[in-house]
C-alpha cells in the first residue's frame, strides 16, 4: 500500500542515517571502554579505540583479585537479591489487601500509601531517623527503607484488579482463607507484574550508590560495587598501589585500564539481565502509564 515518491525515499534514507548515528552515539562509549580495558596500554595510541590493541586480560585479573572489588561485588549481589525479595513480599501482600473493597478502611489505607508518592521528608530527617534506629553502618539500611515501594504497590494492585474475580471466589467457596487465596491463587498468576517490579528493584539495588555515601562511609565492609568504582575513579591510592605492584610484576596495567575494567564489571550484570528487563519492564511501565 505504500506509495513511492522521491521525497519519501529521501526521508527514509535520511531517517536511516539518523538512526545509525543514534546507534553509534549510544553504543560507542561502551565499545570504547570494553576495548580499552582489554588493551595492552603500551600499544594504545590514543584517540578512538574500536578494537582492543594487543589483547590482554591483565586489568580484569587485577580487578578481580582486588579485595575491595570482591567485597563490593558480594554486597551488591546480596542487596540485589535480598532487597527485591523483601520488597515483593511486603508490597504484594499489601497490594492484594488494597484490592479488596470489602475491607473496612481500605479507602483510608489507599490514601495513606499514595500520599507518600507526592513528597518526601528530605535527606536530613531521614539521616537522623537512621541514626535513632541504629541502622547506620548496617546492611539493613540497604533493605528496610525500600521494603515497601508504593509505586510498585500501585502497579501490582492495578494488575490484580484486572484478574477475573471468579478465581478468588472459587477459592473462597472451597474454604480457603484470605492469606491462602493470596499465596496460592493470586500470587502465581501475577508473575508478569512481579517480574517487572522485581527486576526493576534489582537494578535499583545494583545501581544504588548514594545510600552508601550517606550512611555507610565508615564501614568499608559494606561498600557496594558502585561505591568501590566511585572510589577507584576519584582516589589515587589505588593508582599508587598499582604502580608499586606494576613495577614488581611488570604487568601491563595503567590506572585507566583498571578503572575501565571495574566499570565493565559493574555494567555486566545489568547487561545480562537486560533482555528480561526489556521484556517485562516495558509491560510494567505501560501498566503504570495507563493508570497514571
Amino acid at each position: 500500500m505504500r506509495e513511492r515518491s522521491i521525497s519519501g525515499s529521501l526521508f527514509d534514507a535520511g531517517n536511516l542515517i539518523f538512526m545509525l548515528a543514534i546507534l553509534t552515539l549510544m553504543l560507542f562509549p561502551f565499545v570504547y571502554i570494553v576495548s580499552y580495558s582489554l588493551s595492552n596500554p603500551s600499544m594504545l595510541k590514543g584517540g578512538l579505540v574500536l578494537f582492543p590493541a594487543g589483547f590482554t586480560l591483565d586489568s580484569y585479573k587485577k580487578a578481580l583479585g582486588d579485595s575491595a572489588v570482591l567485597t563490593g561485588a558480594g554486597i551488591s549481589i546480596a542487596r540485589s537479591i535480598i532487597g527485591p525479595a523483601v520488597m515483593l513480599f511486603f508490597t504484594s501482600m499489601a497490594a492484594y489487601a488494597l484490592t479488596r473493597n470489602d475491607l473496612g478502611g481500605v479507602r483510608f489505607f489507599r490514601k495513606y500509601f499514595v500520599f507518600t508518592l507526592y513528597f518526601t521528608s528530605g535527606i536530613i530527617p531521614m539521616y537522623l531517623l537512621m541514626g535513632y534506629l541504629q541502622l547506620k553502618g548496617t546492611f539493613l539500611i540497604y533493605i528496610l527503607p525500600s521494603a515497601v515501594s508504593v509505586f510498585n504497590m500501585v502497579l501490582i494492585k492495578t494488575y490484580m484488579e484486572g484478574l477475573p474475580k471468579e478465581m478468588e471466589e472459587a477459592a473462597v467457596v472451597d474454604g480457603a482463607n484470605d492469606m491462602r487465596v493470596f499465596f496460592q491463587v493470586i500470587f502465581p498468576v501475577c508473575k508478569p507484574v512481579f517480574a517487572a517490579v522485581v527486576l526493576f528493584e534489582c537494578v535499583n539495588q545494583w545501581n544504588a550508590f548514594i545510600d552508601t555515601q550517606i550512611y555507610n562511609t565508615m564501614s568499608p565492609h559494606l561498600y557496594s560495587l558502585q561505591y568501590v568504582l566511585y572510589n577507584t575513579l576519584n582516589q589515587f591510592n589505588s593508582l599508587e598501589q598499582l604502580k608499586e605492584q606494576g613495577q614488581k610484576q611488570l604487568t601491563a596495567i595503567t590506572p585507566q585500564t583498571f578503572k575501565m575494567a571495574i566499570t565493565v564489571i559493574t555494567i555486566l550484570p545489568i547487561a545480562f539481565v537486560y533482555p528480561f528487563l526489556q521484556r517485562y519492564f516495558i509491560k510494567g511501565l505501560l501498566v503504570g502509564s495507563i493508570k497514571g
Partner: protein
Amino acid sequence: MIKAGVHPVKRVKSRNLVRNRYLYAMLLPAVLLVFVFWYVPLTGWLIAFVQYRPGIPLLSAKWTGLQQFIGFFTDTDDYVHLIRNTLAINISSLIANMTTAFLFAILLNEIRWRYFSKLIQTVTFFPFFVSWIIIYSLSSAMFATSAGAINETLIQWGVIAEGVNLLGDPRYSWMFMIALGVWKYAGYNSVIFISAISAISSEYYEAAQIDGANRFQRILYITIPGLMPTAIVLLILNSGWILNSNFEQFYLFTNATNWQRMEVLDIYIYKYGLQLLNYPYATAVGIMKTFISLIILMVVNQISKKATGKAIF
C-alpha cells in the same frame, strides 16, 4: 433486630475485623514500614524551627520560628545561583527529554524494517538501566581534557589545539548535564510515546491515505495530535519534579571549578546538612523546596484541566 446496648456500627466493625483478620495481617507490615520510614521522619521537619542540638528532644529545644527560612533569602546570595541553576537545568532537561522522545518515537515509527527498529529500541533503552557512576566513568573516558577519547581524536585530527574541558568548564555545564540526561532517558521516555502511537487506530491512517494525504501530512495531522494527550500527562507528571534534581548526577558531576553553574538545591541541602552539619538550615531549605514543588504540580494540573481537560487529579 438490634439488641439494646450494642451499637450497630460497632458490631459491623468488629465483624469486619474478625472476618478480614488475614487481610489486616497482610496489610499491617507495609503500614508500619511506611509509617516508620515515611511518616515518622516528617516530624523531623520540626528541626527547621528550633535550635537543634543532638540529644536534646526537639520539643524542648529553643523555638526559632521562621528564622532559617528567611535566612535563606536574606543572609546569603546563594539562592540566586541555586534557583537559577536548578530551574535552568531542570526545565531545559524536561523540554529536551520530552521533545527528543517525542520526535524519536515518530521517526522510529517510520522505520519500515521491524528488526532494525527493534534493535534501535533495545540499544537506546539500555542507558536507562546504567547507574550515574557508570555514566560518570564513561564521561571521563570520553571527555576528559587530556586523556578523553574525543579530545584526543580531535587534537590528532587537528580540529582543536587543546582539549575542551566539558567536565570542568562552567560554560558547558548546563548543556552537558542536559545532554547526558537525554542520552540516558531518551529510550525510556520514548517507550510510552511508541505505545501511544501503536494505540492510534489504523483506520485514521487508511482514511487519510484514501483522501490522498502523504506521509508528512499523516505524521502532522494524525500521529502528532494522537500523541498530544500522552505528552500533556507526562508534562504534568514531571512538572512536580522541576525543583528536584537527579541527586547522584549532580553529586558526581559538580566539582570545584564548575560549581557556580552546577550547584542545585538538592546538593546545597546535602552540603549544608551532612557536610557542614547545619541541620535546621538544610531542613528549612528542603521544606521550602518540597512545598513549592507541590504547588507547581497543583497549578500545572489545574491549568491543564482548564485548558485541555487532562489532569492527573
